[in-house]
Subunit: 189 residues, 2 copies
DNA sequence: ATCAAAACTTGATACTGTCAAGTACGTGCA
DNA sequence: TGCACGTACTTGACAGTATCAAGTTTTGAT
């Protein structure tokens, strides 16, 4: 995207790029150091360890996602779906890390956790506004879980799953996502 | 589960167990070799390399999943959902590998791919039978994608995602899954 | 009994994350 | 000006890893 200046940005950018093309397992601190033209230990001054690097990617990713979801002013249900899936497809280098608790447990990174909560808050707020006032807490929670599941499932299946190879056959991916979104929202009254 | 006898089974079992508790990244061929009490190179006689080991896990997992989905004789829509999610929660050591294309590209493992197709075929067949005859190919494909997305999204969010920490609060996980399934199927007429 | 293949071992190489100890440099302060 | 100190970075070392190569043992069919 941009041309980063600080080593911190350079390393982060290189790592996201590797995740986007290969996956998190192929991110090596020594390789991003080489990519930045510095010694193998230089990145450790900006990230505590490998997990810290992934935490930074997660935080940036959830910030972008939360912004995307909040951006949709007076969104429709379909618009939220599409925003979620679109984020995943346009930022694979972030999305592939954000939910990988095994490589980065967000519980240990409050700043990242806050951005994650902000993203999920956008969905919860929408659902609370969208359902009529007779809805119980359980109904709201169930509905939010449902919406999130569809969007997350579709995003992961499109991005890395068996649907990926069929994307080529789909003329307009955005329209396909929108159609699934329309189908999904039919479950809500 | 069982007490495996052959080294191949022992190694496979140990790997699945590590994935279930820690994740695929913590699977080391040397560690499973140690667990089996053999030299660090012994596993290579049964699996071409690390990816081959994951392919074997995937094949076993998709076999189990396909069996589960086919097992549900004259299934309801909800039963299929529940079967999928239940499989993920009861076989995390398999499920966490089956969709990780970065550590194991099924395209290179025909036997595993066949089991995967068998699992997805179960869903596709059901959808084709479930929709009325006026449904177009696109509608069938869209519906199958939708159902799969909900089930897959819910499974991953429950297993590894932010919903996991809330599982404790959910009195009856099976009932919770069933309720989401009921909500999801309301989208289908 | 023999012989070839399968199952397994030992050894080496190149990579990784990370600890430990250094060096270079800018900035505030006396 | 000089000097102390923290930040950014380097060099070096260690243990762990996947995997190649080459050996040895075990086994099973003829």
């Amino acid at each position: 995207m941009q041309s980063p200046d600080s080593l911190q940005d350079t390393v982060l950018h290189a790592a996201v790029s590797i995740v986007a093309t290969s996956g998190p397992d192929d991110v090596s601190l020594r390789e991003v150091a080489r990519a930045a033209g510095v010694s193998h230990q230089a990145p450790y001054h900006h990230f505590k360890d490998r997990e810290g690097l992934f935490a930074a990617i997660s935080e940036q990713g959830f910030t972008l996602l939360a912004d995307s979801l909040h951006m949709a002013k007076s969104p429709t249900r379909e618009a939220l779906f599409v925003a979620y899936v679109t984020f995943a497809l346009r930022h694979p280098g972030h999305f592939r890390v954000m939910f990988r608790k095994d490589i980065c447990n967000l519980e240990h990174y409050p700043a990242a956790l806050m951005q994650a909560d902000r993203a999920f808050g956008a969905l919860a707020d929408f659902v609370a506004r969208d359902l009529d006032e007779t809805a119980t807490i359980d109904e709201i929670r169930m509905t939010a879980t449902y919406m999130w599941s569809v969007a997350h499932g579709l995003a992961t299946l499109l991005l890395d799953g068996p649907l990926e190879k069929k994307i080529g056959e789909i003329a307009d991916v955005d329209e396909f996502v929108m159609n699934v979104a329309r189908l999904a929202t039919r479950a809500l009254h």
